[in-house]
């Protein structure tokens, strides 16, 4: 187990280093940080002094090592646009994005899996057909249009839910949460649906396909022959064995949720990291962009690692001598 974890971490490191290199190259070669920091008027001597202060005259690899050292400590310098430390900006907005992504993921799983099981078991019922048609809509609508449609119906026409912002938030230490106030929860509904809908339909289709596959196997027939109740067969035997592909896709989709949070946050003016990133792209604010890039890479790599570990927990074949089994 331990060796498995260590080998996975060593596989993840090159990815992180490559992304760090890209983000450092953005820092170092795009735009001229010295000119930005000095403003309009400066002498060559001032410029040289600042260049050596910042260590820009050192060799590339030394600079890169310094960059990594700073990044590990969460130090990314000042935002060009807001003149505030990038780390502070991101820390302020992270709770909003994480709460949104978490709610969307929970929604997608809590609704998607039961819908998938149902449509897999009762393939020809009218409700299954309705779910499938609905899922086709979820897959083909772009995220921002789903958001706009939801706003039009529930905020403009019906006036039930707010269409922008987070509502009232409560501070728990440095974490600001919207879960604890009524307006915060209400503000979360539309963005979470917008963000989670695609994942929901994806999970539903996947669980449905896997269920249909598993229900045909011999051990399910055997379980039925043993006289086990339907409940035990469906949930204890069938659903459990559909979980490996579901975990893979859900893990990978968590990354997609964070990426599409950029779009959702723009539609709903949700004050999270995605909105910060898109404003930074518009203003060519390199420090924020490169910090965000590294952070996202870290999140992706961590998610992949967790997915691998979950395999280990879910699939017993991996535990007994890997490589010997059929997979």
């Amino acid at each position: 187990m331990f060796a498995f974890v260590v080998s996975r971490i060593f596989q993840a490191l090159p990815v992180l280093l490559a992304v760090a290199l890209i983000s450092f190259a953005m820092f170092a070669y795009v735009g001229d940080p010295v000119a930005i920091m000095l403003g309009q008027d400066y002498t060559q001597a001032q410029r040289d002094a600042l260049v050596s202060d910042l260590g820009l005259d050192k060799p590339f690899w030394v600079q890169f090592a310094t960059f990594i050292g700073n990044a590990v400590q969460g130090e990314f310098g000042l935002s060009y646009r807001l003149s505030r430390p990038v780390a502070d900006l991101i820390a302020e907005r992270a709770p909003a994005t994480l709460e949104l992504a978490f709610t969307a993921a929970v929604l997608a799983l809590a609704v998607g899996v039961p819908m998938g099981v149902y449509t897999g078991l009762y393939r020809n019922s009218w409700l299954s057909r309705f779910f499938l048609t609905f899922s086709l809509v979820g897959v083909s609508l772009p995220t921002f249009l789903i958001g706009i449609l939801l706003i039009l119906v529930f905020a403009v026409w019906l006036g039930w839910l707010p269409s922008f912002g987070r509502g009232d938030t409560v501070k728990l230490g440095w974490w600001s949460t919207g879960f604890l106030t009524w307006s915060g929860v209400k503000a979360l509904v539309l963005p979470a649906i917008t963000l989670g809908l695609f994942q929901l339909t994806l999970i539903m289709r996947l669980v449905r396909a896997e269920m249909m596959e598993v229900l045909r196997t011999d051990y399910i027939k055997f379980a039925r022959a043993r006289g086990l109740p339907n409940r035990a067969v469906h949930f204890g035997h069938a659903l459990k064995n559909t979980m490996v592909p579901v975990i893979t896709i859900v893990g990978l989709q968590l990354g997609a949720i964070i990426a599409f949070a950029i779009v959702t946050e723009t539609v709903f003016q949700w004050p999270g990291m995605g909105l910060l990133f898109i404003q930074s792209v518009g203003a060519a604010d390199i420090p924020v962009m490169s910090a965000y890039l590294l952070l996202i890479a870290l999140v992706f790599v961590t998610i992949n690692l967790i997915v691998d570990l979950l395999y280990y927990a879910v699939d017993p074949r991996l535990r007994i001598g890997r490589g010997k089994g059929g997979h």
């Binding site: 490559a18 992304v19 083909s140 921002f144 249009l145 706009i148 403009v156 990354g255 990426a259 792209v281």
Partner: protein, 297 residues
Amino acid sequence: MDAAVKRFFDSDLWFSFTRSPVTVVSAIVAAVCILGAVFAPWIAPHNPFDLASLNLSDAFKPPAWSEDGAREYVLGTDDQGRDVLSAIMYGARVSLLVGLSATIFATLLGVTLGLLAGYVGGALDSLLMRICDIQLTFPSILVALLVDGVVRAALPREVHAEIALFVVIFAIGISEWPKFARTVRGSTLVERNKEYVQAAVRIMVSHVLPNVLGPVLVVATLNLGLAILSEATLSFLGVGVPPTQPSLGTLIRIGNDFLFSGEWWITIFPGVALIMMVLSVNLLGDWLRDALNPKLR
């Protein structure tokens, strides 16, 4: 010529096409979208860029079938009195142009690198595939956003404004090449070990390439829809095509501001047009994938 036409109508491809009503309908919808976009300057009822023809008293007209609608503006008008239908036709032109160019760019780049990786093998292969792996870890829209942001930062503002359209094409193309490279590399590896290739060295382009084109065509069709959506998303976020050449995404973003005052048609109709275009292209891609797949025949 006649023989070629006859061969086409006798082919399996044409047969499977006529056997699938969904595919025929999507082909018709796609054709309407594409023709409407391509011939917009000649068939659009108004020219949305001709300032002289705009009349502010026509602003915010609802669609023709509602009470206050005017018959000459079928889908209503926007805040400046522009005809929404004409704006959609011109916008679809930009969307299609960017989507097609980005897909062609991604195809060329991906096919070249994939052929090289598969044919040369060794260190080059591992390097290219490693890059693919890393890039595929991230969703393509994120890569496109990032490339767009970096180019925006690297270029002076005036230069960027001039070539913004190409920047978007480049960004979307870069975000999609790994899929092509992987497909082509896979097929190349299969072809390379066949005897006809081993017999000669300078055979990559003349013999291997034609044999990997089928899968590439399928990936390209499925990617066209994705590229159009990526462009729409970038433009909706305000970092895509310049406002002087609005695409469907730009129209949706502009219309979004009027959602709350009740002028829903300004944003919803471009959205519907976008969905129709993307959905029909995707369904065609699905059909092409199944039709060209010998295992499913």
